[in-house]
């Protein structure tokens, strides 16, 4: 049976087989296991995937266009909504790119808090990955346990910034405000209990024969292919390549923290699982170190034209009032030029390209989303596998459609 329609682009070939040996089906965009509105056009020969073509754009909201119409500081709230599981990471990437253009130096306390919050956010993002990946494979308990741990972190982020999924906690020049009272005590409580939670996840999954059979040997991508296809993050480290932007191009003081980069050699879904589980422990190490380094100090840079003054100062001093008014009403001019600032997001290399023409609004902002690039490697990993393996592979890629589609 052939389907004729004027709107199907020629690349989506409909295979017309006389014995109907191949079937073209659409996995998504509404599907519980595609982790968002992702459509995969699968050509199947029985259970085996012959061709896999991702069709994205269902969540495209034109964020990059929006940046050009907003002042630099207004763009921070847009970044929350890209990779909505790692909003603090997106915030940091954008804010640091603009700070690079402005040449502002961030105070020590703000840098330590940035590291602390980013690593907590990384753990929270990995909790979603773990819960949904295990759920897709069939382990429902892990989903509940992981989201329970994530809830604790979201409470901490909400205490600091007011938002769970859209914190916008960082500002150009520092932080929105200092950590609230009791934050360090609560974070310490979380750190004390979390290793046991990771042990529980490993008890449920790592030794589980069903999980092992479903993930080992599935979705192989060799190191050379991974680099050629631009794959970064845990997917690349699961193929044996030890690249982490926190090590290769350190930022916010990461070079002074003691942590390892977990790498696995088997290049399959299992390797990516092990890498992320080890990353949870490494992130916890960094959080512990950051907590130990917190010393009293300012959390905003000394740049009155860029950073909002304290409210008390604004209410009593004329120059602070004028600066506040100008920053909010007109914005600040950023020197003309362009900058590409990469950070290690929870999914890979998250890069922000900001091009300025000297005014208060950017000329171009582009985000290099790691999920966008990792998803392009999905056909390579899944052609030749069975449909059920495609579900496992998508889980191991840890994609977020907000970052892919922007």
């Amino acid at each position: 049976m052939s389907v004729s329609s004027t709107n199907i682009p020629p690349q989506f070939e409909v295979v017309d087989q006389p014995l109907d040996t191949q079937m073209t089906i659409s996995m998504g965009p509404q599907h519980p296991s595609t982790h968002g509105v992702l459509r995969l056009e699968l050509v199947l020969d029985g259970e085996m995937v012959v061709k896999c073509t991702p069709d994205i754009g269902y969540l495209h909201t034109g964020m990059e266009k929006l940046f050009e119409y907003k002042k630099y500081q207004q763009g921070i709230v847009i970044t929350d909504r890209m990779d909505y599981l790692n909003p603090l990471g997106n915030n940091l990437c954008y804010v640091m790119a603009v700070e690079k253009l402005l040449g502002i130096e961030i105070p020590e306390r703000a840098q330590v808090i940035r590291v602390l919050m980013c690593e907590l956010q990384r753990i929270a993002s990995h909790m979603v990955w773990l819960g949904t990946h295990a759920l897709d494979i069939g382990a429902m308990t892990v989903f509940f346990y992981a989201f329970r741990e994530r809830e604790k972190i979201l409470n901490l982020i909400e205490a600091a910034s007011g938002g769970r999924m859209t914190p916008s906690y960082f500002r150009i020049g520092g932080l929105m405000m200092d950590l609230p009272a009791g934050f360090e005590r609560r974070t310490q409580q979380f750190i004390d209990k979390f290793p046991k939670a990771v042990d529980e996840f490993e008890t449920l999954l790592s030794g589980n024969r069903i999980f092992q059979t479903r993930t080992q040997g599935v979705g192989i991508i060799t190191a050379d292919d991974a680099i050629d296809m631009g794959v970064t993050g845990p997917c690349l480290r699961g193929s044996g390549v030890a690249i982490d932007v926190r090590r290769t191009n350190p930022y916010t003081g990461y070079e002074t923290y003691d942590f390892e980069i977990p790498v696995e050699q088997s290049c399959d879904v299992w390797a990516r699982y092990v890498v992320r589980m080890r990353e949870l422990r490494e992130s916890l190490k960094i959080v512990r170190q950051a907590l130990g380094r917190l010393k009293p100090g300012p959390v905003k840079a000394d740049a009155p034209k860029v950073v909002l003054p304290d409210r008390e100062a604004m209410k009593t001093h004329m120059d602070a009032l004028i600066h506040h008014f100008l920053i909010v009403a007109e914005g600040f001019n950023v020197p003309a030029g362009e900058v590409y600032h990469p950070i290690e997001g929870s999914k890979g290399e998250l890069g922000c390209y900001v091009k300025s023409d000297g005014g208060p609004k950017p000329a171009r902002v582009h985000f290099r989303g790691p999920s966008f690039v990792n998803l392009a490697a999905l056909p390579h990993m899944s052609e030749g596998e069975m449909v059920a393996d495609v579900v496992a592979i998508i889980g191991s890629l840890d994609i977020v459609l907000g970052e892919i589609d922007r």
Partner: protein, 181 residues
């Protein structure tokens, strides 16, 4: 204990190569200007980054060279990003290639500038396969055509969309009135 020593050595090594990196970067760029004088049209060093403006005929050759030569070894293409300077500017479009080396850890930006009437550039999918989706996105958003691309069609916007959304003359809210039908 040994991990502490390793870590101190790594930090000391990084501190030692920090000033060298800038020297090394400049040395590498001078070497590149010597061997590929026609491909390196302009070099801009600003904000700690190096940008090379490349004429579009030479982009593929330069990318191959930068990927394969051991001193450079730019084996990972991090991003291809288009930009529109505005409808009155000529050349109007820019295409930026962000390169990264997984062995040397250095980064570089290549820029190709294109005029509006002739917004075509050869594809680099033969050099890095990851360019495929990045070039599709640049085509979708700016209308820049990549000659030789295996599958040049829109990626984020629907297939029947008219216009190129990130151009400066495309309105923020689009052309069609909001309607539910």
């Amino acid at each position: 204990m040994s991990k502490d020593i390793e870590r101190e050595q790594a930090i000391a090594e990084q501190a030692a190569t920090e000033p060298l990196k800038d020297q090394a970067g400049s040395q590498l760029i001078s070497a590149l200007q010597a061997t590929h004088a026609d491909a390196v049209s302009e070099v801009i060093q600003a904000f700690g980054e190096i940008t090379i403006i490349v004429p579009r005929e030479h982009i593929v050759e330069l990318c191959e060279y930068l990927k394969t030569k051991p001193e450079f070894n730019f084996n990972l293409l991090a991003d291809i990003c288009g930009a529109d300077r505005g409808p009155e500017e000529d050349p109007r479009f820019e295409v930026n290639y962000h390169l990264f080396s997984t062995t040397k850890f250095h980064r570089l930006r290549l820029k190709v500038v294109l005029s509006e009437e002739d917004a075509r550039v050869p594809t680099v999918t033969g050099v890095w396969r990851t360019a495929n989706w990045h070039e599709r996105e640049t085509f979708d958003m700016f209308g820049v055509r990549f000659d030789g691309h295996p599958d040049l069609r829109r990626i984020l916007l629907p297939d029947d969309w008219q216009g190129h959304a990130l151009r400066k003359d495309f309105p923020l809210r689009g052309y069609e009135p909001y309607s539910l039908s």
